[in-house]
Symmetry: C2
Subunit: 186 residues, 2 copies
DNA sequence: TCATTTTTTTATCATTTGTAAAAGGCTCCC
DNA sequence: GGGAGCCTTTTACAAATGATAAAAAAATGA
């Protein structure tokens, strides 16, 4: 996935604004296992995934909980750092070798002040993330673990092939043993 | 709560832009029990709560699930209508007589195209809602029902006084019986 | 390829949570 | 003051999920 595709997917931009935004992107590569963002740290960058898959996780007491997966086209970002300037709660780990586009939050935020198209692009970005987050919340509140697993297979069959079941169980909010039981039933 | 307070709380606006936005607000009153937004309908308005408390709920099979409460200062909005132009999943019911400020999405969206300050205000609005939603999701994924109840008392003691426990149990993702058990323990 | 490590499944038991039904409280209105 | 209706709590039982341990399967690396 290239920069144009990623930016356009969020919201169409006039050519001039898009070039402006693209000029702030730099390509970076990191290997599988690399920790891209750190919990309890104010992060200053946003990354867009050109290739690869990542997970966000945090600790509750002593056990690690995976609560997000990102793959091609998605933005890797500590929302708390981005929106509130506070340390985030999540580590982001690369589950494959990744090609990423890096954007400094400070660059983006100055563009917001001077280019109305980019300000609206940023608005669309937040709105899309909001809808995604709301859908995850509703899925969690309304569906049983079994239904959530079925929905995941439906909407994101890739994930099952690329991510180990322990992480998926954690994402679904159940133990790996429970996920195994669910898989055995179906 | 007045319009200035509500708008400023989301993000500061230059006086001129603020007056522009305020000129699009109209005050409306509805009684307790009124259904402000309807599920499966594309909604065209945003409401800000001056006074009162409301809940969002939806149906899963035959049982109703409350998944959001809004009170003074908060925006009542079908995010799916607002962001994607699609029918929302939620009914919004007023739990008290309410004083609301109504804003047409169409008015807001044209201001986004012409006033960069309002575009950034709209961006901040989405970002703040995003953080709130993310926090609810994380609370749900990381905390037990008992911890979520304790957190609710801590951060929102008002709610307990203004909303009946059946709705709160549903919001916490447990049955009213379970909530009773939790309350008995503490 | 074989040995080692990691991941997934299976089995058992303990705990939590849900369902259904009953009882107790509270409020409102006549 | 006393019902009627709604809200909340309690109880008993059933179902689902978690914890732990161990076996089986798959992946990794020398």
């Amino acid at each position: 996935m290239n920069a144009d595709q990623i930016l356009d997917e969020i919201a169409k931009l006039p050519e001039e604004s898009k070039e402006l935004l693209k000029s702030k992107l730099t390509e970076v590569h990191f290997p599988k296992g690399f920790i891209l963002l750190r919990a309890n740290k104010v992060e200053s960058g946003i990354y867009f995934i050109r290739k690869g898959i990542v997970r966000a996780y945090a600790y509750q007491n002593d056990n690690e909980i995976t609560f997000w997966f990102g793959s091609e086209g998605q933005a890797v970002i500590s929302m708390r750092s981005y929106v509130e300037g506070l340390p985030g709660y999540e580590d982001i780990e690369l589950l494959e070798d990744c090609e990423l586009l890096k954007l400094k939050m400070s660059d983006l935020k100055s563009l917001f002040q001077t280019d109305i198209h980019i300000a609206n692009w940023g608005r669309r970005f937040a709105e899309r993330e909001l809808i995604r987050t709301e859908e995850r919340l509703i899925s969690r509140q309304f569906r049983t673990a079994q239904e959530r697993y079925a929905a995941l297979i439906e909407t994101n069959p890739d994930l099952l092939k690329r991510v180990q079941l322990g992480y998926i169980a954690s994402y679904l909010g159940i133990t790996q043993v429970s996920l195994s039981r669910i898989r055995a039933k179906v």
